[in-house]
Every structure is written in structure tokens, then in C-alpha cells.
């Protein structure tokens, strides 16, 4: 971006400054720390100058928003045109309680919905399954059938609002419930918009709510891709997620590399099925974490866009729409402290800021009380207000990619891209993503980083305010969410009543047809939809697939 002679003179001047000025001063007044590094362990210099960007070419590497390589944003207008979607991940107890929470959030200005399911639902069990014991509604809402889905979205305009659903193993089944509910309300499925997470690779790697082994899981995912672009064209049929990889303890670089690597794996799987890349790629979406290291996070999102655009081109994408790395962000749950919970509001503000400066399409801000329990109404409202303050008051959204061209940010973006490609090489040497999972590669990398991070906190090398420094003895005095104790009872009665009252002959017939189809290679979505429409439960539908596909078991490594 600079001419060579000028760069040389800047470099020369910097060397002098480092030697004659900086070193001289730090001889008598040493820096606060022996070395400075970011959360990924990348060493950070005292200053960045044009020399650090010497290999960057403006048109090739930086460019303009809405144009290749999309470093500066996927849309030409970004947040000047439209703000990000304010989408709070929410769900607890029964469908009735969660429906109330959604209406509360919408009333306070939320612009998208995001469903958290409880563990039995995530594993494809009905609420009355023995393994659901103690888990009902605990970390999300319990959804066992289309009946529950109807209650969950009662009075909510599913044709106007988009809904993201964090569901993976049984994603196709839960999606079918959403589609069937819309259709029952007279809304054509080609009008509904939203996202299913549907990212099984990161379940094996980090989040661990998997059901089936890799092969049938990938098959089901490609089924949803195909059904999606043909029948539900406004739906993102996958949200390729780094969030959980990060929460499990990875660094930002690992999050970036493993997530994009997973993304490429899905594209390859769909291509192998014979799907045309420019048909399904526009509906691939991503999900990242926003952790504490402010600039590192911003560089991560920027690098992700550039790498994805490049890789998609290599994979044969022709349309611009296929090259866009569209993403949702959630602030880091693992960075919240149970101590002095109110100060989490400040942490979350900084994290949210990094996501917005990084060009996110959608954002969840954590509530201050989430290291203790699910968020109370007041806590979640403050979290939402945090986004609204940034959007309306800070002026940050006035220009696009305001940190573009920062010597530091551009250097770091480039560095993270380089490290990502190093990881791509490593994974390829292990035979690809799935073999690397089976060898425990990602799991070990993450466990290693998580342990290192914890040790740094334990030894006070890394300070966490309220945890290992600036500690107070004040008692925690924020209210904790209380759930309706009758919810579980109500839910189990509802399932029992449903099993008795529905047309069981029709259910049997549809389940039988699904079973037959699952033994072959047909797209299962139409069969799953028929089961769901006739009120087969999640447990029945998923249980049948369990019988055919078997279950994944992971090696316990620590």
C-alpha cells in the first residue's frame, strides 16, 4: 500500500525510535510486564507501523465492503443501512413460560428470536424419558412435539420475525416442527426465515450434544441443505459455530481455524451429494464468540470473512452471495464471573463492541447473572439495552469498518489468517476434519488451551477483576430466575394426552415410512415433516433414527 522507499524510511525511523527512545526509557522505567501477548498467545509489539502491513495490497487484501474479499463487511452499507439483529438466546421451563419471555423481549425492542432448548430436547428425548430426569426446562425450553412448538410461538408473527434455533442432533426434526407450525397457521414455508444451528462437527469437537455417528449426521445435514434451498429459501440451514469451541476453552485462533475448517467440510459433503454450490452456499451462516481481548476479536471476524471468501472461490463458488461469511455473535459466557456479577455488564459491553466493530449481522449479549443461573427479566433487559445504547448513542455505526487500516488491526487480521492456514494444513495431514475428531486432535488442542488459561488465572498471571484481583467480600445480591414448578407436570401430562388423542394409525404409518426411507438414501425431510405434522413426538421420531443410525460415543480424554 506504500511505496518501497517510503516503507524503508519508516522502518529505519522505527528502529531508531525503538533503540534510542523506547529502550532508553524502559531501561529505567520498565514496562508493566515482561511480555505482552493476546489471548491466543500471539506476541504483541509496542507499536505497529506501515512496515507491519508491507505485504498487504489494498485491492487484493482490503478493498471495499460488499466486495471481494469482503474483509470490511459483507454488505456495501453495513450498519449504516441496517443495524444488526438483536437476538437474545432464551428458553427455560415450559413452552408457556418461554413464550412469555419472547414477548417480553420483543416488547423491549429485540429484533429476532433465538431458542434455547433443554438437554432432553437437544438429545432428542421427550420430557418423560427416563434420561430426562432432573433436566426438564433447566437450560432451555422443553419441546417434545408440534403441540409445544405451537405454544412456544403462540401470538408471535413467525412470518415477520426471524428465529434462530440452537439445535443440532435432532435439527431436522425441530425444524420440521417450526415449518409445520407456520403452515398450520396459514403461512407458506417459503416466507419463514431463521436459522437452525445443525452443526454436528462442533458437537463432536466441543459442545458434545451429539446423537448419531458422523456419517448419518452429515447425511441429515445435507438433506436439510437441499430441502432448504428448494422449499424454505429464506432459511439458514446451518450455523457453523465457533462459539462452543471457544467456550470449551480454545483460543480465538483455534476458534477461527476449526470453525472455518468445519464449514469447508460441510461444503465438500454437499458437493459430494451433487448439490450445486451456488444453490446451497448462500444459506450457510456462522456463529462466533466475543471474548475479552478486544482487538483480537475484531481481527478474528475480519479474517474469517476474507478466508471464507477465498476458500469458497477455491471450492467453485461463482456467485458473490456464496462467498459471504454472514455471522451471529454471542458474548463469551465463559468470561462471565459469578463474583460481583454486576460488573459483567461492563465486560459484555466491551465484547459486544468488538462484535459490532467486526461487522456482525446479529448479536446476543449475555446477562450479568449467567454465571449463576439463567437470566432474570431485569438482567436480560439490561443486556438488550447494552446493544441499544451502542446502536443509538455511541456513533460507532456511523461508518463502516472503522478500524480498517489500523496498522495493528490489519497486521493481526493477517496473522490470524496465517495461523488458520497452519491449522488447515495440520488437519489435512490427519486425514481431514472427521478423522481428526476421531483421533481427538481438536479435543486435545482445546483442553490444552483451556488448562493453560486456567493456570494463568490460578497463578495471577492473567488478572480477572473480582476473581483473582479487586476482590470484595460483599454477598451476591441479585435476584435469580425462578421457574414455574408446575411446568414439568404440565408438560408430561400434555405428552400423555397427545399420545392418546392423536390419530395413532397415521402416526404409525408416517413413522414406518420414515424408517423405510432412512434405510435408503432419499432426502428425509419430507418424511420427517409428515411424522411431525401427524404429531409424532420428538422422542419417537428421533428414537427411530437412533435405531437405524446408532449413537456416537466419544473417547473420554482429558
Amino acid at each position: 500500500m506504500y511505496d518501497k522507499q517510503k516503507l524503508e524510511s519508516i522502518k529505519k525511523k522505527e528502529n531508531e525510535w525503538q533503540k534510542n527512545k523506547y529502550k532508553k526509557i524502559t531501561k529505567n522505567h520498565p514496562e508493566r510486564k515482561e511480555s505482552f501477548e493476546n489471548l491466543s498467545g500471539i506476541g504483541i509489539k509496542n507499536i505497529y507501523n506501515p512496515w507491519d502491513n508491507k505485504d498487504l495490497e489494498f485491492f487484493k487484501d482490503i478493498g471495499f465492503p460488499g466486495e471481494y474479499p469482503f474483509l470490511r463487511g459483507i454488505h456495501a452499507t453495513m450498519h449504516r443501512g441496517r443495524l444488526w439483529t438483536m437476538r437474545q438466546f432464551a428458553g427455560f421451563g415450559s413452552a408457556e413460560e418461554t413464550n412469555k419471555r419472547y414477548k417480553y423481549l420483543l416488547k423491549h425492542g429485540e429484533t429476532g428470536l433465538s431458542v434455547a432448548f433443554d438437554y432432553p430436547t437437544l438429545y432428542g428425548y421427550d420430557s418423560d424419558h427416563p434420561l430426562a430426569r432432573g433436566e426438564f426446562g433447566k437450560c432451555g425450553v422443553a419441546i417434545s412435539s408440534l403441540k409445544d412448538m405451537e405454544i412456544l410461538f403462540d401470538g408471535i408473527h413467525v412470518d415477520e420475525i426471524t428465529t434462530s434455533m440452537t439445535i443440532n442432533g435432532p435439527a431436522a426434526i425441530i425444524w420440521a416442527m417450526y415449518i409445520a407450525n407456520a403452515e398450520n397457521r396459514g403461512i407458506n414455508r417459503n416466507l419463514i426465515g431463521g436459522t437452525i444451528q445443525n452443526d454436528i462437527l462442533k458437537e463432536y469437537i466441543a459442545q458434545k450434544s451429539f446423537i448419531f455417528p458422523p456419517e448419518p449426521s452429515m447425511k441429515l445435514i445435507v438433506d436439510t441443505f437441499e430441502y432448504g434451498f428448494k422449499e424454505v429459501p429464506r432459511w439458514n440451514t446451518i450455523s457453523i459455530s465457533g462459539y462452543h469451541i471457544r467456550e470449551a476453552g480454545s483460543t480465538a485462533t483455534q476458534e477461527l481455524a476449526f470453525t472455518l475448517g468445519d464449514g469447508i467440510e460441510y461444503v465438500k459433503a454437499a458437493k459430494e451429494r451433487g448439490l450445486e454450490i451456488d444453490k446451497f452456499a448462500p444459506r450457510l451462516s456462522f456463529f462466533f464468540n466475543a471474548h475479552n481481548d478486544f482487538f483480537e476479536e475484531i481481527a478474528k471476524y475480519r479474517a474469517a470473512r476474507r478466508i471464507w471468501a477465498k476458500e469458497m472461490k477455491k471450492l467453485g463458488a461463482k456467485k458473490d452471495r456464496s462467498l459471504l461469511m454472514r455471522f451471529h455473535t454471542q458474548t463469551a459466557g465463559c468470561a462471565l464471573t459469578a463474583q460481583q456479577p454486576e460488573i459483567n455488564i461492563v465486560r459484555v459491553t466491551l465484547q459486544a463492541l468488538s462484535a459490532i466493530l467486526g461487522g456482525t449481522q446479529s448479536l446476543h449479549t449475555n446477562s450479568m447473572d449467567e454465571a449463576l443461573a439463567l437470566p432474570s427479566e431485569k438482567a436480560v433487559r439490561i443486556a438488550l439495552r447494552t446493544q441499544q445504547i451502542i446502536a443509538e448513542e455511541s456513533g460507532i455505526t456511523n461508518t463502516i469498518d472503522p478500524l480498517g487500516g489500523s496498522y495493528y488491526i490489519e497486521w493481526l487480521t493477517d496473522k490470524m489468517e496465517e495461523e488458520t492456514y497452519n491449522y488447515f494444513d495440520k488437519v489435512e495431514k490427519l486425514g481431514g476434519v472427521i478423522p481428526a475428531i476421531e483421533k481427538g486432535f481438536f479435543q486435545r488442542e482445546i483442553a490444552e488451551s483451556a488448562y493453560k488459561y486456567q493456570k494463568e488465572i490460578d497463578t495471577n498471571k492473567r488478572k480477572i477483576v473480582g476473581v483473582n484481583d479487586y476482590i470484595t467480600d460483599d454477598e451476591i445480591s441479585i435476584p435469580i430466575l425462578k421457574m414455574d414448578e408446575k411446568g414439568e407436570h404440565r408438560q408430561i401430562n400434555r405428552i400423555k394426552k397427545l399420545r392418546k388423542e392423536r390419530n395413532n394409525q397415521k402416526v404409525e404409518k408416517n413413522l414406518h415410512r420414515l424408517k423405510k426411507a432412512a434405510k435408503g438414501s432419499e432426502n428425509l425431510m419430507p418424511y420427517i415433516l409428515d411424522c411431525i405434522r401427524s404429531y409424532a413426538t420428538l422422542g419417537e421420531t428421533c428414537g427411530l433414527l437412533r435405531e437405524i443410525y446408532g449413537e456416537y460415543e466419544e473417547p473420554a480424554i482429558y
Binding site: L131, G134, T337, A447, A450, Q454, D458
Partner: protein
């Protein structure tokens, strides 16, 4: 001669959050204890059975799903039923303050929430296991 302390780290129920369990397992091993990690999705029966087979001094349960009141106490109740009294049971995870006294009453000797230094757990075990 001092026998090494044996500890079972277990993940009861459906919860998949295993970051904490793995860090604690590794920290205890580095502190010189024998650590057995069950992996995910354990029932109370599986946990107690493994604890007996492995002859452990301590069971460390980790849960971030909010189901601790049921799933932690399932383990202590089963131990009581089997008249096993010499195993200390500890719990960790996302556990609201007001649940801690109830868990202690049910036989969970120590509860370690977010922000706990791993040495605190090591010290607690060293202090409470009879050698």
C-alpha cells in the same frame, strides 16, 4: 507409606460442558492424585459402580445444566443406600448460592463454583480425605 488419593471425576446426566471437569481432572493429577474420568452422560448407578470398582476416596461431580439438585443428590442417595460412607462427594458447576446449603445437607461436602482456583480443590481434598 502414604497411599495416593484416588478420585473419580464424573459428568452426570446429559450435560456436555466438560471444560471444567477436564481442567479439574488434570489439575488433580498434576497434584499427585490418581484420577479416573468417566466421560459424559453418566447415570448415578454408573458413577457409583465405577467408584466402587476403582476404590476411590472422592467423587467429583460436574454439572452446568442446572440439574444438580436432582442429579448430584441421586449419587449421594445411592451411596447411602449402598451403605458406602467413606467416599467424599464434591460438586462443581453453575450452582446458585441458595442451592449450596441444600446440597451440603444432602451429602455434597464441598461445592466449587465459577472462579474457584484449582488449588482450592486440591487443598480441600488433601484436608478431608483420611489417609
Amino acid at each position: 507409606m502414604n497411599k495416593k488419593i484416588r478420585i473419580l471425576i464424573a459428568k452426570p446426566g446429559l450435560d456436555g460442558h466438560d471444560r471444567g471437569a477436564k481442567i479439574v481432572a488434570r489439575s488433580l493429577r498434576n497434584a499427585g492424585m490418581e484420577v479416573i474420568y468417566t466421560g459424559l452422560h453418566q447415570t448415578a448407578e454408573m458413577i457409583v459402580e465405577t467408584a466402587i470398582q476403582e476404590d476411590v476416596d472422592v467423587i467429583g461431580l460436574s454439572l452446568l445444566s442446572g440439574a444438580h439438585m436432582t442429579l448430584f443428590t441421586d449419587v449421594t442417595k445411592l451411596l447411602k443406600k449402598k451403605k458406602i460412607e467413606d467416599i467424599i462427594v464434591l460438586g462443581g458447576g453453575i450452582i446458585p448460592e441458595q442451592d449450596i446449603p441444600k446440597l451440603k445437607k444432602e451429602g455434597i461436602s464441598g461445592v466449587f463454583g465459577p472462579g474457584t482456583r484449582t488449588e482450592e480443590i486440591v487443598e480441600f481434598i488433601n484436608k478431608n480425605v483420611k489417609k
